[in-house]
């Protein structure tokens, strides 16, 4: 009886020690991310039967368990994936937004100043100062377009690099999760106990992975988890992780595309497959903000160069004899006796203008467009989007309303490729400004300068719906709307992440005051058990004394 009372006291000592140890473990991990507080689950072992009844045999430790709720954990994951998505989107879009909208780096002022300078030349066609001012403003306009394009090209390069580095990071994480899955399955296998700290480690990896690409996790009976992305594509299945990699986009060689490699197949991860996480935010921002803005700047460069050159070439220089040349790097060139010019129309599919050159001919009712890089050819009517090999090229064509193209008169080279990056002013001398009309007989003629200044209010962009400035305003407004929506979502998901994290941590997080109380509680339990042991020992001693 006494021996067993010693063992009852001992079980209490052990239990209190286990409690203290777990409390210490909790306190030590207060700052560990992904840590869930643990507690010891006690149970009473089967009682000893005597004729007097059942006597309890102390306490036993059933398990050390984590306190968590899968529901709350999933809510945090879900919100965090969305927050990462919008944070990435917003950070990138905001950069473009302030770049386009800023009065120093944007195009609005440069366009406006160029046409004001044209007006001043019209007011005073013989003034060298006015002509010089127009040249300066032309140079400034081309320079602004170059700068915008360079900046955005830089962002595109950075986003390509980011896609590559994110896919590498995803692979590191999925491999880690798969190997933890293996360890957990091995440790837990059949014991009925959970490998709490390994699970915490794995959850921390899942949280990190989820920030990059939103995942759905499904618990398997053996302690493993499977992770799915997008519309149920498997990323991790038990011990196996499928790799993702960055490859060149098949439709656009300037873009990197993330693909999931499953069984020798490459599944592209586009915006429809992945809807949360930094990678998705980056790709969505690239497709919705960066690429359209770059395309708009290219269209702007093309239209500015085409329209200004067409008018400028139609006039005479200051000597009233020499024909005006190209003002800017020509976006359009007449080849083989082509007469008149073409106007740029928009894309009906919303595709961006491909970075390629084309040549076009006009038979009076349709354009035949040939792509320079591969010689593919297609025939489109006025305003119909050019499509090559099933891929929309991001533009349509119209016959110019003022300089009407003569049917069958030749071809026009359309130089979109690197136009925005390389556009520059060609005129070098004030006398080369063609302020005079082609019928002029003196330097005082300002009719061509008037025509140039009138371009400011001509609707030449967006299928002859917008002026240059209006078209640019639309680009800025669209970018601003996207950035603003992303900002709103960032604040919404910040609140949601804060709230869901606070609920989740409210359950699973460590509270030091609580641990202090537990510490005191277990300490007192330990002291009480120790006392019980000394009582048992004293009884035993007494008994020995009687015998002696």
């Amino acid at each position: 009886m006494s021996i067993s009372s010693l063992s009852v006291a001992l079980s209490g000592l052990n239990a209190a020690q286990a409690g203290i140890r777990t409390t210490q473990h909790n306190i030590s991990n207060i700052n560990t991310s992904g840590y869930r507080r643990q507690e010891v689950a006690y149970t009473t072992p089967s009682a000893q039967f005597t004729s007097s009844g059942y006597f309890g045999s102390g306490t036993a430790i059933e398990s050390v368990r984590q306190i968590y709720s899968q529901f709350l954990d999933n809510a945090v994951l879900q919100n965090q994936g969305q927050l990462s998505y919008y944070e990435t989107y917003s950070a990138q879009a905001s950069q473009i937004d302030s770049m386009l909208g800023d009065s120093n780096s944007g195009l609005s002022k440069a366009i406006s100043k160029f046409f004001s300078a044209s007006s001043e030349v019209a007011n005073d066609p013989t003034s060298t100062a006015a002509r010089q001012n127009l040249l300066s403003m032309g140079k400034n306009l081309a320079g602004r377009i170059n700068t915008l394009d360079t900046q955005m090209q830089g962002m595109l390069d950075a986003s390509n690099t980011a896609v590559t580095s994110m896919t590498q990071e995803i692979n590191v994480l999925t491999t880690g999760i798969a190997s933890l899955n293996a360890s957990i399955a091995k440790l837990e296998g059949g014991s009925g106990q959970t490998a709490n700290d390994l699970r915490d480690q794995r959850d921390a990896l899942v949280a990190n992975l989820n920030k990059l690409v939103q995942v759905t996790q499904v618990q398997q009976p053996d302690g493993e988890i499977s992770l799915y992305i997008g519309e149920g594509q498997t990323l991790v299945q038990g011990k196996y992780a499928y790799s993702v990699s960055a490859v060149t986009d098949s439709n656009d060689s300037s873009l990197k595309q993330a693909v999931l490699n499953i069984g020798g197949m490459s599944l592209p991860l586009s915006g429809t497959q992945i809807k949360g996480g930094e990678l998705a935010g980056l790709l969505a921002q690239r497709d919705e903000v960066l690429l359209p803005a770059m395309s708009d700047v290219t269209a702007m460069a093309f239209a500015l160069s085409s329209e200004i050159n067409a008018i400028h070439r139609n006039g005479l220089q200051q000597d009233a004899a020499t024909a005006g040349g190209n003002f800017f790097t020509p976006a359009q060139e007449q080849v083989g006796g082509a007469s008149g010019w073409l106007s740029l129309g928009t894309s009906s599919s919303g595709s961006r203008i491909a970075n390629d050159n084309y040549s076009a001919s006009w038979d009076g009712s349709a354009f035949t467009v040939v792509r320079e890089s591969d010689g593919l050819s297609t025939t489109v009517s006025a305003g119909e989007e050019v499509v090559m090999d099933g891929v929309a090229q991001g533009f349509s064509l119209y016959p110019h309303t003022t300089f009407v193209p003569v049917a069958g008169s030749g071809t026009w080279n359309l130089n979109f490729k690197s136009l925005a990056a390389s556009m520059s002013m060609i005129l070098g001398n004030t006398t080369e400004v063609a302020a005079a009309a082609s019928t002029a007989n003196g330097a005082g003629d300002n009719r061509n300068a008037l025509a140039l200044a009138a371009l400011r209010t001509s609707r030449v962009l967006n299928n002859q719906q917008s002026t240059f400035e209006q078209a640019y305003q639309q680009t800025v407004t669209r970018t601003a709307n996207n950035a603003s929506n992303a900002d709103i979502s960032v604040s919404a998901y910040t609140t949601l992440v804060d709230e869901s994290t606070s609920s989740q941590q409210g359950l699973s997080g460590v509270n030091l005051d609580e641990e202090a109380i537990n510490l005191v509680r277990f300490q007192q339990a330990y002291q009480a058990s120790a006392k019980a042991m000394s009582v048992a020992s004293a009884i035993f001693d007494e008994l020995l004394g009687v015998v002696r």
């Binding site: 937004d97 909208g101 005082g444 407004t477 509270n511």
Partner: protein, 327 residues
Amino acid sequence: MRIDSLSYFQSSMLGMRDNQGNLSRLNQQLASGSKLLAPKDDPLAMEKVMRLTSSIATRTQFAANQIRANLALNYEATVVQEMHSALNSARDLLSISPSSSTSLRTIHAERLKSVFSHLVGLANTKDTNGDFIFGGFKTTLPTTPDTGAQPFVRTLDGGLADTYYNGTAYPDGTRSIEVENGRTVQVSDNLAEVFRFTDASFIDTANGAGANEADHDLLKNLDHAISNLPVGTLTQANLNGYVKALDQAIQKLSQVEYRIAGALGEVADVKGTTTALLLNDKNALGEIQQVDQEAAIIELQTRQTMLEASNSAYAKTANLSLFNFLS
């Protein structure tokens, strides 16, 4: 409610983060004077701002063009007015009887000489840039012996050669300035027709006596009158012919004056509209863009108080721990 210790610490941090963000934003707004720090702050307002800014830039240029048009027209009006009175003086001087005394005719001839050179000078007027204003598009002319480097070339020699005109042929060579969207105003005139009109209805073939009285070349007529008036060979018909040529020139010049007056009126009208619209645009832009200083400063103070409250709440609660009370 159970709360974990990390969240407990972070709850003050969230408040401080939001308040600091707001304070920094208000500071930027106050420093820049603009409510919109980036287009994304308010895409709708930014769209209006850009539209107004572009409209203001366009109208400002039109306003500059109007001033320019006004200057050119006023300058021309002054010269044309001078020309008009010179033509009237010439008409008065030629309204004498062919039988008046030699000395009177000589005096008139001498005075006509000065009127003649004044007229030639006026016809070859240059603007402040040194450009001829009546030479059409030929605002500058090369100095060659043939052309004399001026639009109207005529020296007093009594000869019967036509006045030499170097400018742009009538009616071309008039310059226009855009004063409003799509609206241009003519700011110069071609005076070739005043001095040497080609209008057949003005050529009086019935009065065929003498060499030049029926000629449509005003300066040639004056030159001829100056040479022949002192000599006494002129008939009344000759003198009538000169006066008729002057009348026709005055009539032509009056048409130019009416046109200038009309153009000046048009520019003044357009200018009124442009100024009013420019003011409207600027007011609207100010309302959208400019930060309301008073409201912003009050908000700044409120936010500051809130941040101080968060800070002090953190400071007061940060050290609370049960461990402090357990010995």
